[in-house]
């Protein structure tokens, strides 16, 4: 109860502050000083490193693009991109081909959610592989057919042509937007920012004593934090000051933190996320784990919010098109929404170890989107889209209208 009062009063301060035009800084009780940019040195050497994350973001982009490369893609080639093995020529870039990293091994693979839940992890990986197989087996043969209810094929979306399954779902969108949750958010929120990972083994002791990894300039804890950072900023034009181009650097978390930040209702979210990353990393350098964990809570809350806000945004965009009489024009937004809803499974309560949405809750929402009727998006009603939107917003402090506006 004490917590409740405290939370409420902090929140009310925050809310009232949001009305006033001056930018008063909240008073943060800590002794850690955050640097101006994400720049951390040991001696003359930078201690920041996240190439593995950059690699995976680039692999994810090429894999998602290959879904509609009708000339060159096969089921085998797409599955090989998803489950890349070092040395295989699956990608257009030599660096990616040489890498021993892949997407599949990091799908639904966080310590907190899946270490003791391998059956669900396997089912989620199978879902991604099913998107790949279905794209090749259902959509590819119908690429020169106009889609109709129950028949896969192409639809017009403005000047764009989209390729959908029999229920109107674009598998490439479902794949990419689900990957944003199952790889990027899950690894960040539930693995690298997990106390179990940050403090694993001797990590704290080593960090306290500045014992770095063998032949590396960073302590293990510093590196884990940077790996979380890399899933959002790994392809930033300026990784030390990534908000200069937030939204422009990838098609995954970076893009959607940027898009949500464009909405005046959420115009501080990119700054809040970056500040928390920066301060948390400075706290590790200062060996202040209380401040570190406060920043973890902020990052979990805000990244979860980004996924929900954008999901609702697309549900509402789709709804508006349907109401407007342009049902097929709604399918692209609804396909993106479907992936964002799937990604809710990987979001996280800021104050404890549980997901914001249980597997059952997410499955229920996905079923409402896809199985309310036989033909999925061809028959879905505006009311259902509102119900799903409301169920998502109910877990947060914003309204459907705020998320749906831009």
């Amino acid at each position: 109860m004490k917590n409740l009062i405290l939370t409420t009063s902090i929140l009310s301060v925050a809310l009232f502050a949001s009305c006033s035009s001056d930018d008063d800084q909240p008073i943060v009780q800590n002794t850690v000083e955050a640097p101006a940019t994400y720049n951390f040195m040991r001696g003359t050497e930078s201690t920041v490193s996240f190439d593995g994350q950059t690699t995976r973001i680039l692999m994810a982009q090429e894999t998602a693009n290959a879904f509609t490369d009708f000339e060159n893609t096969t089921e085998a080639s797409l599955l090989a991109m998803y489950n890349h093995q070092a040395g295989n020529a699956d990608f257009s870039e030599a660096d990616l081909n040489a890498s021993d990293k892949n997407l599949r091994s990091k799908t639904a693979a966080s310590y907190d959610y899946f270490f003791m839940n391998t059956s669900e992890s396997a089912a989620i990986k199978a879902t991604f592989e099913a998107y790949i197989s279905s794209q090749i087996n259902e959509v590819f043969p119908n690429k020169m057919i106009a889609a109709t209810p129950g028949v896969a094929g192409q639809i017009a979306d403005g000047t764009r042509t989209r390729y959908v399954n029999a229920k109107g779902l674009e598998y490439n969108q479902a794949f990419a937007k689900s990957l944003l949750g199952a790889v990027m958010a899950d690894q960040m929120l539930n693995n690298y920012l997990s106390v179990a990972v940050l403090d694993e083994g001797n990590n704290r002791e080593d960090n306290n004593n500045d014992i770095t990894e063998e032949n590396k300039p960073y302590t293990t804890m510093e590196h884990k934090w940077d790996e979380a950072y890399g899933y959002l900023y790994g392809t930033s034009a300026n990784p030390e000051n990534p908000n200069l181009t937030i939204g422009e650097d990838d098609k995954f978390l970076n893009e959607y933190v940027g898009r949500v930040n464009d909405d005046p209702d959420f115009s501080t979210i990119a700054a809040e996320i970056f500040d928390a990353f920066k301060l948390g990393r400075a706290a590790i350098v200062a060996k202040n784990y209380e401040v570190r964990d406060e920043q973890v809570a902020i990052i979990r809350e805000k990244i979860s919010e980004v996924i929900a806000v954008r999901g609702i945004y697309y549900l509402q965009a789709g709804k508006n098109k349907i109401v407007d009489g342009d049902r097929q024009g709604a399918f692209h937004a609804l396909s993106e929404a479907y992936g964002f809803v799937y990604s809710l499974r990987f979001t996280r309560m800021s104050d404890n170890n549980t997901p914001l949405f249980t597997k059952n809750e997410v499955d229920t929402l996905l079923n409402m989107l896809m199985d309310s009727s036989d033909n999925g998006f061809w028959d879905i009603t505006p009311e259902t889209l509102d119900t799903v939107s409301e169920a998502m917003a109910a877990k947060f402090d914003f309204t459907v209208a705020q998320a749906g506006s831009l």
């Binding site: 409740l4 939370t7 409420t8 929140l11 009310s12 809310l15 009232f16 949001s18 009305c19 690429k143 020169m144 057919i145 106009a146 192409q154 639809i155 017009a156 979306d157 403005g158 000047t159 764009r160 042509t161 989209r162 098609k251 893009e255 898009r259 965009a317 508006n320 407007d324 342009d326 109910a394 402090d397 914003f398 309204t399 831009l406």
Partner: protein, 373 residues
């Protein structure tokens, strides 16, 4: 516990929203007494239907000239066809802002004018003889830009172009493709005109509601969307490189004909001005329009009449466009700054329409920029 917290939260959010909204929102919606029905009738009867009628007859001439050319493929018939193709293309600039009703349903603008046209796939289609122009993925293989390629882009000289339709091993394929292109435009044009004259006109004029589904709101959105995306960006901004690294001269309208890009742009600007002022298509009289609506509302911006500001800015933009080379590829390659200057003036119109006019008319913009994936 969680629900309690959430309840308090909602109350706080509600309180905050109320507190904020009192000063940030605009004035309460007031239903004005402007005769929207009369404006819709002026639009339909004096502008839209006459413009489609004129376009449809040009397209009919183009279809006839296509038949004449495919029956007797000579340089003379090619040139005759090219002349009516150009006239139809110019006439088209007067209807392409009205993407509503049947036009919206058949995706009229995208079926008739997506450029640059996809030459390699056109050649594939001709080679295989297998194509369906109703498929969304074929929009960049049909319409006026595809005809541009077929009539102007196959070879350097007219004599060489005619060879494709005579002694080329697949001359039948080229003739069939040309015929299908021409007929498809005619069919679509007929469909849209017939829809207007056989019922849609009355439904349109009667739909005077001031809601998002009302005809004024919808066509206002269509008009601004067209001006922003198809005219400002499509005809000028994209080829001038406003949205890319470097210029894209191959993206000009009528790339193969080369010397009519400016004429098409000027015709489109004129059509936009005339529609804004409610000027009848076949005469010089002005009826109820955005201009009279704004004047009725007495809309003032920075101490000036908004309708006058918009008309002045249209004139400024037209004058800038007039300074351009008839051939936009040459313009871009010799002095792209003039393209950019024209773009800037068009952009000023977009702001006046999309911010100031929309606010005055209490219409909500119903489109957002796609995020590009």
């Amino acid at each position: 516990m969680k629900f309690l917290k959430f309840g308090i939260f909602l109350a706080l959010v509600a309180a905050t929203i109320t507190a904020c909204s009192s000063d940030s929102d605009g004035p309460e919606e007031t239903d004005d007494a402007f005769d929207r029905g009369a404006m819709l009738a002026n639009w339909a009867d004096n502008i839209i239907i006459p413009a489609y009628t004129s376009f449809n007859s040009k397209v009919g001439e183009m279809e006839a000239a296509t038949s004449a050319f495919t029956a007797t493929p000579t340089v003379e018939n090619l040139q005759a066809l090219r002349t009516v193709w150009k006239e139809a293309y110019v006439s088209f600039q007067n209807v392409l802002m009205f993407e509503i009703g049947k036009a919206e349903e058949v995706r009229f603008r995208n079926r008739l004018n997506v450029y640059p046209t996809n030459v390699s796939q056109i050649e594939d289609f001709i080679a295989t003889g297998n194509y369906d122009f109703a498929l969304p993925s074929t929009i960049d293989k049909q319409g006026f830009p595809a005809l541009d390629y077929m009539l102007n882009g196959l070879a350097e000289t007219d004599a060489e172009i005619v060879v494709f339709y005579t002694s080329n091993p697949n001359a039948e394929g080229y003739k069939n493709y040309l015929t299908t292109l021409s007929q498809t435009i005619k069919t679509l044009s007929n469909e849209v005109l017939t829809s207007w004259t056989a019922g849609y006109r009355d439904a349109f004029v009667a739909n005077t509601s001031s809601s998002a589904s009302g005809a004024v709101d919808k066509l206002t959105n269509d008009y601004i969307f067209y001006f922003e995306k198809a005219l400002r960006a499509g005809k000028v901004g994209i080829p001038a490189g406003v949205f890319s690294n470097g210029t894209l001269p191959q993206n000009v309208e009528a790339f193969y004909k080369k010397d009519i890009s400016k004429e098409l742009l000027l015709e489109a600007i004129n059509a936009s001005v005339n529609f804004f002022n409610g000027k009848s298509f076949n005469g010089n009289s002005n009826g109820a329009s955005f201009k009279t609506y704004l004047d009725y509302l007495n809309t003032i911006k920075n101490g000036e009449n908004l309708s006058a500001l918009i008309n002045n800015q249209f004139t400024v933009a037209k004058n800038k466009a007039n300074e351009l080379n008839a051939n936009f590829v040459e313009q871009i390659e010799t002095d792209n700054s003039k393209m950019l200057a024209t773009y800037d003036e068009l952009q000023r119109i977009v702001v006046l329409l999309k911010v100031d006019m929309i606010q005055a008319l209490d219409v909500t913009i119903d489109y957002v920029d796609a995020d590009g994936d």
